[in-house]
């Protein structure tokens, strides 16, 4: 492929070695040839455009086959995977970009964005979009997907008592979980930023994220555990309550507070995430802006709300969006701690039960689609942010 480099340079009459575009030459060329003549004149260029991708794909396919076979020792396979993955993906981008640049200028401009965005969209389509469409299709059929039942599954999903319970609970998750995670994340980011113990503090707040959900389940079991009066408490919360003279409670069974106790777990887990992103954004606020504010006589609070918050607004929206969507999707915590019992049901665990426990693909599909519909307001808000952006 190294040998092809001079070819790349030589066979590209419209481009100088630095990749600049000589507009005059282009206009000349465009005016003097039609399509057929263009093809004839650039036959060699076309051939190379075909051969190079073919060779590259063959090489990548070999890598693919090798990785699929996986017969070599694991470290080798993993290393090749990284090389193939990153190198291959990079090669793919470079190659497609090069290909697109071979085309006439107008085509280049039109196609280049798809070079950038294409691979991601292809993968997303295969892995997520198509399955979603399939689920949408099946949501109009019965459990075995053999009989068309129209909107019956949706009616069920919107009227079933467990589903209504989960709507209410998800709302609690959204509001309390997202709100507090972002607030705590921001608070900690600000405090840590000004503290000597920044790295330690941040690491300790981030620590819960590193614990898998299984581990988090065990940890919080040690907090919420209930033993009857008279027995020794092994749950921290009950030990605390008992030491103050109160009665131990089975926290996770107390409606309607138990959802809040579960949300507490999520806040504990996710604040680290919010903190990481918000901290990076905070550090990006230009010092000059803050200085200017101080010189103008603003106090700390005014600087915070008037300068800092607007500046990192984009990140706050991003963090809030992802956590909010995470709350819509919340499953593991509920599943591990209560399985939706005692009034803690949420949409995602309903989806899981319908799909996998009851093998009802129709109802499961309907619940999933309702989840998607629930995210539309978030999408609209993000779209508005998008609109203000002008691209090149």
């Amino acid at each position: 492929m190294v040998a092809l480099l001079p070819v790349y340079v030589v066979w590209n009459p419209d481009r100088t070695r630095k990749g600049e575009i000589d507009m005059e030459q282009v206009r000349e060329r465009e005016q003097s040839t039609g399509v057929v003549q263009w093809i004839a004149a650039n036959l060699a260029r076309l051939l190379i455009s075909l051969i190079v991708p073919v060779v590259t794909f063959v090489v990548m396919w070999q890598g693919f086959v090798f990785l699929r076979g996986g017969a070599a020792p694991k470290p080798v396979v993993a290393t090749v995977a990284i090389i193939w993955g990153v190198g291959g993906v990079a090669a793919l981008f470079v190659l497609s970009n090069w290909l697109v640049e071979q085309l006439p200028l107008k085509w280049t401009a039109a196609l280049r964005p798809f070079v950038f965005v294409g691979p991601a969209m292809v993968i997303l389509t295969w892995y997520l979009v198509l399955p979603t469409l399939r689920t949408f299709y099946f949501s109009f059929f019965n459990a075995q997907s053999t009989k068309f039942v129209g909107l019956e599954n949706y009616i069920f999903a919107l009227t079933d008592s467990a589903m209504l319970e989960s709507f209410r609970n998800n709302l609690i998750w959204l509001v309390v979980g997202t709100g507090l995670s972002v607030v705590f994340g921001l608070l900690i980011a600000i405090l840590a930023d000004r503290s000597r113990f920044e790295v330690i503090a941040k690491s300790l707040i981030f620590l819960p994220m590193a614990i898998s959900f299984v581990g988090a389940g065990v940890i919080w079991r040690f907090i919420y555990f209930y033993k009857p009066v008279g027995a020794e408490q092994i749950g921290l919360l009950n030990a605390f309550v008992v030491s103050l003279g109160g009665q131990p409670q089975a926290w996770l069974t107390l409606r309607p507070w138990n959802t809040l106790f579960l949300v507490a777990i999520m806040i504990w887990l996710n604040t680290g995430y919010a903190m990481v992103l918000l901290s990076a954004a905070l550090k990006g606020v230009p010092a000059e802006l803050l200085e200017a504010g101080r010189i103008d006589g603003a106090n700390e609070a005014q600087i915070f709300f008037g300068i800092i918050i607007p500046y990192i607004q984009g990140t706050i929206v991003t963090v809030a969006t992802t956590i909010l969507i995470g709350c819509l999707k919340i499953f593991d915590i509920v599943f591990v701690m209560t399985n939706g019992n005692y009034g803690t049901e949420v949409m995602a665990s309903q989806f899981y039960k319908q799909m996998f426990k009851f093998q009802n693909f129709g109802r499961g599909g309907a619940v999933a689609i309702i989840l998607l519909i629930a995210v539309i307001p978030v999408m609209i808000y993000n779209l508005r942010q998008f609109r203000e952006r002008e691209a090149f």
Partner: protein, 294 residues
């Protein structure tokens, strides 16, 4: 940021200390419990632990292999497999699954942020919408496709799956970051005659290191701690089982040995924390630190 007077410094550090303490207490409970025996864990609170009763038996079983009663063997005790195989498997699954999506998402994020093309808004909105799709809906269709491609049970299968599932978040996070870069940086680059591709490679990528590092950590964590995707696409045969599976397995057929999870959770936590520490300096650094000049 300059250091403030000592009073506000004390306030800040004090508040921080309090918050950190509250945050860490639950984990502390787990740590203490991991050094206690099965009976102690189930009968008494972890804060009552005395140094004398501490034991390494949980860690021994988690790392070295679980002990089973086996009357047919001389000592009456058999040892199960240790974790090293599962550890290697987890690493093999996680590293490519983290690295591959980053590049793809970075290109896409740049495309959405700074390039004009028809359908730009629609496609982006789709990406955001995909954030909410529960990945369980993809399990059956993808498995079918994998069966036809003969991919099931291979590491490649799971790398591609994690790439697919991680792309929405990656694209979204990187989009936020890349689109907030100052417009004039790109403008001046275009004036200099650079193409989108060059700008991306030589300007955007280096500038985006904080965001790339952030996402890398999250993706690493998520894949490292994942259980379901691994079970479905790669299976639980010993030569490919990942750490999370081995841990779940260890709790016994009916979950009676969950005290082993206490040690298990810490053992599996070690690597993601290492990754966090290694990468955290990249996103602690500021966005514009020394990048824009020239």
């Amino acid at each position: 940021m300059g250091r403030k007077t000592s009073l506000s410094g004390i306030l800040v550090n004090g508040a921080l200390l309090l918050i950190v303490l509250i945050w860490t207490v639950p984990t502390l409970g787990l740590l203490v419990s991991s050094f206690r025996g099965q009976e102690a864990v189930r009968d008494t609170g972890w804060w009552t632990a005395k140094p004398a009763e501490l034991t390494l038996s949980n860690y021994d079983q988690v790392l070295g292999g679980k002990e089973y009663a086996d009357p047919t063997l001389p000592g009456g005790v058999a040892k199960g497999e240790n974790m090293s195989n599962a550890f290697l498997n987890s690493l093999t699954v996680t590293v490519p699954s983290t690295v591959i999506p980053i590049l793809i998402a970075a290109f896409a994020a740049y495309g959405f942020a700074w390039m004009k093309f028809p359908g730009r808004k629609v496609l982006f909105v789709i990406v955001v919408a995909l954030l909410v799709v529960p990945l369980q809906i993809a399990l059956i269709p993808i498995l079918r496709d994998y069966m036809q491609l003969n991919l099931t049970g291979t590491f490649l299968a799971i790398w591609l799956a994690h790439t697919g599932f991680g792309l929405p978040l990656a694209t979204y996070l990187l989009f936020n970051y890349i689109s907030s870069l100052p417009r004039d940086i790109l403008e001046s680059a275009f004036i200099d005659g650079a193409s989108h591709f060059t700008i991306f490679l030589r300007l955007i990528l280096p500038l985006s290191v904080p965001a790339l590092a952030s996402f890398a950590i999250f993706q690493f964590l998520w894949v490292w701690n994942d259980l379901l995707v691994a079970l479905v696409f790669i299976g639980s045969r010993p030569e490919v089982a990942v750490l999370t599976q081995r841990l779940q397995d260890m709790t016994g057929s009916r979950g009676q040995d969950w005290h082993l999870l206490t040690a298990g959770a810490f053992v599996t936590m070690a690597v993601p924390l290492l990754v966090f520490f290694a990468l955290q300096r990249y996103f602690v650094r500021g966005l514009l630190a020394g990048s824009v000049k020239g």
